[in-house]
């Protein structure tokens, strides 16, 4: 018979036991429900349709076609020592050819309106790592970044968990389509001050997640003025820049800087990734583009913890340098996303559901406040649960995006086939009709 001896439990860090990873929020609970009962057109037609994942599956075939036709790109290069050199390459500067390719791809997305210097491109294993890295570099534990609400739920984890940095929200509401205002910026800053928290920067996502809207040029100018006056940093996460339906509607912060002759640009840093625009989240390709030499140097060194596989750099480098391919891909991708969006919005309208007018991204910002019993977070979550468990759609409630107005939901449309989208829209229509009958 063995006797159970109580061993003293060996200690773990605060980080290991903290809840800052936010994995208890509905954002993640919805995923769980999907994982347990995933929709499949044939095998599980009544399963949960995942509409909470901002992934782009509409343009895979273009990538596949390219790789099929360009077999040398799918090899280790023509040199006999290609594999060997690649396998040994672990320089945190990254392959120069790949950095060049990333810079040129970013330029292409902005239709050549700005230039990007490959020497300012720092590579990381995904934008998640890029955002965390920048936070480590720009802020000390206890400091804060100001972030406009609603924002990507992952930021709570990515910006705060290991860094010990706080997020202080810049509140935006539907009265002006959730655009950032100078008053909101100032209020957030004062809010931080009143809590004795030092603000180190503003972090915007442009185009916005979850709104699916590009930030107006004038707003960008105001934000840049604000950070300049406060002498803080500006991080512009432009991960959806290639998913703007019409290229002329997107203004990158880089363009604003250029129009100001790069005066005082050292406070600005751009984050980019191939996860959304190119639909390759599994490849783990992110970048930090900084106008600040010191940040570039520091970020490079810190990227040792999050390097991109040299194999992946090799594979994507030649593909992204092919201007014909990238031009074609970007155009087609935009078109397909716009079509999806219009289908989505049309279907929702037929069901009597309104959304924010969007022009970018892989999702709609949908207004379900008429369905709420009371304009409270609890009511919103009740509606979310009903939609998850009865309509079998996983969508993201605005409260998990820290939206101050209850009733808004982010609904993704690009991570599924068109057929599946149609099924989802039908389910929404039935649900809305039911509600009308029961309440009418």
């Amino acid at each position: 018979m063995t006797i159970e001896i109580e061993q003293p439990r060996v200690g773990l860090s605060k980080i290991a036991v903290s809840k800052t990873h936010g994995e208890d929020s509905p954002y993640f609970a919805g995923w769980k429900a999907y994982d347990e009962n995933p929709y499949d057109e044939f095998r599980n037609p009544s399963g949960v349709i995942q509409m909470g994942l901002a992934e782009n599956q509409v343009s895979f075939d273009i990538l596949e076609e390219y790789l099929e036709q360009h077999a040398e790109e799918a090899s280790w290069g023509k040199k006999a020592s290609g594999f060997r050199e690649n396998a040994l390459f672990q320089d945190y500067h990254g392959l120069q050819s790949f950095r060049k390719a990333m810079a040129s791809f970013m330029e292409k997305i902005r239709e050549g309106r700005t230039k990007f210097n490959p020497d300012r491109v720092v590579l990381t294993a995904g934008a998640t790592a890029a955002n965390e890295l920048l936070t480590f570099i720009l802020a000390d534990p206890g400091d804060a970044l100001l972030v406009p609400t609603p924002y990507y739920p992952g930021f709570d984890r990515d910006l705060r968990w290991r860094t010990g940095v706080n997020i202080v929200p810049i509140h935006c509401d539907s009265s002006n389509n959730f655009q950032v205002t100078p008053q909101a910026l100032e209020a957030a800053y004062k809010n931080a001050e009143s809590m004795n928290i030092k603000v180190r920067g503003v972090l915007i996502t442009n185009p916005s997640n979850p709104l699916g809207v590009t930030i107006h040029r004038s707003t960008l100018e105001q934000i840049l003025d604000f950070v300049t006056i406060k002498n803080i940093h500006l991080v512009s996460d432009e991960i959806y820049s290639g998913s703007v339906f019409s290229p002329t509607e997107f203004t990158s912060i880089a363009e604003i800087l250029e129009s100001r002759s790069y005066k005082d640009c050292e406070r600005v840093h751009i984050v980019y990734s191939l996860s959304k625009d190119l639909g390759l989240p599994g490849f783990r390709v992110g970048t930090i583009y900084s106008y600040n030499d010191r940040v570039v140097t520091t970020a490079r060194r810190m990227s040792s913890f999050t390097l991109i596989s040299s194999q992946t750099q090799q594979l994507l480098g030649s593909m992204l340098s092919d201007e014909k391919f990238t031009g074609n891909y970007i155009t087609k991708n935009r078109e397909r996303l716009r079509n999806r969006y219009e289908k989505m919005v049309g279907g929702l309208r037929n069901a009597g559901v309104e959304c924010l007018e969007g022009n970018a991204g892989l999702f709609c910002w949908v207004n379900l406040s008429p369905l709420l019993e009371s304009q409270t977070r609890e009511s919103e979550l009740a509606v979310w649960e009903a939609i998850l468990h009865r309509v079998k759609l996983n969508i993201s409630p605005g409260s998990s995006c820290h939206c101050s107005e209850p009733g808004w939901f982010r609904v993704c449309f690009a991570n599924m086939s068109e057929k599946t989208l149609e099924v989802a829209l039908k389910r929404i229509q039935s649900f809305m009709e039911e509600r009308k009958i029961t309440s009418g």
Binding site: Q7, R9, V10, G11, L12, S13, A16, L63, E64, L67, E68, A71, A74, S75, F83, A87, L88, F89, Q90, K115, N117, P118, D119, A125, G126, A129, F136, L138, D140, P141, D143, R157, D158, R162, G201, V227, N231, S261, Y262, D264, C265, G279, L280, P281, G282, F283, R284, D293, T297, T298, S304, F305, T306, L307, I308, S309, Q311, T312, Q314, L315
Partner: protein, 530 residues
């Protein structure tokens, strides 16, 4: 087409010129402004005279300077390095002042002042090439294994037609490779393959459970994640010296965790003694600081020794007694030579029923499989909480999907991996034998070692004075005169000066005579006068 804003490394400003022999000279150039600032005696008198006095003072001091006390390698007197970046042409400095970076970043942004990094840079900037650059620097400072990549190349061409995408079969199926990694901590098939590979590497003396594996983009983030999980800022890990210079960065940078050295000496071949461990532990506790664990490398880097079974048991007892963790970095487990058998911490735990929550193993494919570029590392733990937290943290450092797809069939091909492991060991053994024999010809002996991609060379008789300064002088001569980059013991926190780590697996057999010859030139000048 001109690119604007090429970057300039801010560290350029702090570098100072130095004489070729690397002696501790170098005039400090400071522009004194106090005269102008004080505004006394007019601009000319107020500024010129203080300037002049200042310069004369510097000149006088330089002439009459007494030998400086032994300094850490962080002094600025080491050879200036050409940086690859060029001048920035940013036109404005900003009227409102520059937004500062965090203090974490400031400490990191300081120049790479360790000879470990300086040497690596030099060797890569002026890399030896038999034909193109025969007078270049031969790299013996990077523990990289180039001996067996041909075997991998052959496997790739046999199995994947040399395709970079892998994945088995002709079809590319981007949607399989590309889509969201619901499992940031690695595809299940890769975990299974890694677990099997690790078992093979360690002689099949222990089997690894794939569900206790967390895969990361290299061993570097694996170590950091463990530190984040096991310790809070200000806590400490005990670490036997000499140790891998990279740990100073990997363990301490962002975590705020400290490393407390437990010194090992040549008198017992740098063996870790529990007494020394205990002493170090008590000293730390007296200071009011918390020790959270012990960080080991086994096989050790830079010495190359293997921990005996008995030592492993003693370490586990010690850890239990103090209720602390053990991190065992076993990244060189497959790179052993000689007759000693490698015993993993996992093997020890296998025979123990209780209290496994405190042991965590780090592994990776950078050394044993020569694939540092692919970024493949692993945490293996028995602690559920650590596994859960680590899994969530891999979102910052996941292995790239095409790389996972490529490795699954490779690591699962156990006939190939077995052949690779055996052949690779034999090749490391031959290189070791040749290299160590070559050093012996010069009268340089190496510490007894059984693993790793390097040897630990005893050059104590060649340094003058017998201290860190003398060691760095020799290192400098080896780098600049012999054009060989080796890692001095001080960069590894070795308490005895005069030891150097020499990696030999980046060489081919015919390079060895050249390397020995170059070292001989410097050695001759260092021999004590008879």
């Amino acid at each position: 087409m001109t690119q604007t804003n090429p970057i300039r490394d801010p560290e350029d400003e702090t570098r100072r010129p130095v004489s070729p022999t690397g002696g501790r000279t170098g005039m400090r150039l400071i522009v004194p402004l106090q005269g102008v600032v004080q505004g006394r005696g007019g601009l000319i008198l107020g500024s010129l005279i203080p300037c002049a006095l200042f310069y004369f003072l510097q000149f006088y001091l330089k002439r009459h300077r007494s030998p400086p006390p032994p300094a850490s390698p962080s002094s600025s007197n080491l050879p200036e390095l050409a940086r690859t970046s060029s001048r920035s042409n940013l036109t404005s400095r900003g009227s409102m002042g520059q937004a500062r970076v965090s203090s974490r970043a400031s400490s990191i942004a300081k120049p790479n002042d360790s000879p470990y990094y300086i040497g690596l840079d030099r060797a890569s900037e002026d890399a030896y090439d038999e034909l193109e650059n025969p007078n270049g620097v031969i790299q013996l400072g990077l523990s990289e294994n180039r001996l067996s990549l041909d075997l991998i190349e052959q496997w790739l061409s046999r199995n994947l037609n040399g395709s970079i995408l892998g994945g088995g079969g002709g079809g590319l199926s981007m949607s399989g490779i590309a889509t969201y990694q619901a499992f940031d901590d690695g595809l299940w098939e890769l975990k299974v393959a890694m677990a099997g590979f690790m078992s093979q590497i360690m002689g099949r003396a222990v089997s690894f459970n794939p569900s206790q594996l967390v895969l990361t983009s290299g061993a570097t983030p694996a170590i950091e994640i463990l530190c984040f999980c096991l310790a809070d800022p200000g806590h400490a890990f005990l670490i036997p010296t000499p140790y891998y210079p990279g740990f100073d960065r990997d363990v301490r940078w962002r975590t705020g965790v400290e490393l407390i050295p437990v010194h090992c000496r040549s008198s017992d071949n740098f063996t870790l003694s529990i007494t020394a461990l205990d002493q170090a532990y008590n000293q730390v506790r007296k200071r009011g600081q918390k020790v959270r664990g012990i960080l080991l490398s086994n096989p050790s880097n830079p010495v190359g020794s293997i921990l005996t079974r008995e030592t492993l048991y003693n370490l586990l007892d010690f850890a239990r007694d103090k209720n602390i963790h053990i991190i065992s970095d076993e990244i060189f487990a497959g790179s052993i030579y000689g007759s000693e058998e490698f015993v993993s911490m996992a093997e020890i735990l296998d025979s123990e029923d209780v209290d496994r929550n405190r042991v965590h193993i780090v592994y990776g494919l950078s050394k044993d499989l020569s694939l540092p570029g692919f970024r493949v590392g692993a945490i293996y733990s028995w602690n559920e909480h650590v596994l859960t937290a680590s899994k969530q943290l891999t979102r910052f450092c996941s292995i790239s999907a095409p790389t996972q797809r490529l490795l699954i069939p490779m690591l699962s091909d156990t006939r190939f991996t077995q052949e690779y492991i055996e052949t690779n060991r034999k090749r490391i053994q031959s290189m070791y034998d040749l290299f160590v024999a070559g050093l012996e010809q010069l009268g340089i002996k190496c510490a007894k070692s059984s693993g790793g991609l390097y040897c630990w060379a005893d050059m104590r008789e060649l340094i003058r004075p017998y201290n860190e300064k003398g060691e760095l002088d020799l290192w400098d001569k080896l780098l600049n005169i012999a054009k060989i980059n080796v890692t001095p013991g001080s960069a590894c926190h070795c308490i005895e000066p005069g030891w150097f780590r020499c990696c030999f697996t980046t060489l081919s057999k015919k390079d060895i005579p050249l390397v020995i010859e170059r070292i001989r030139k410097v050695v001759e000048t260092c021999k004590p006068p008879s």
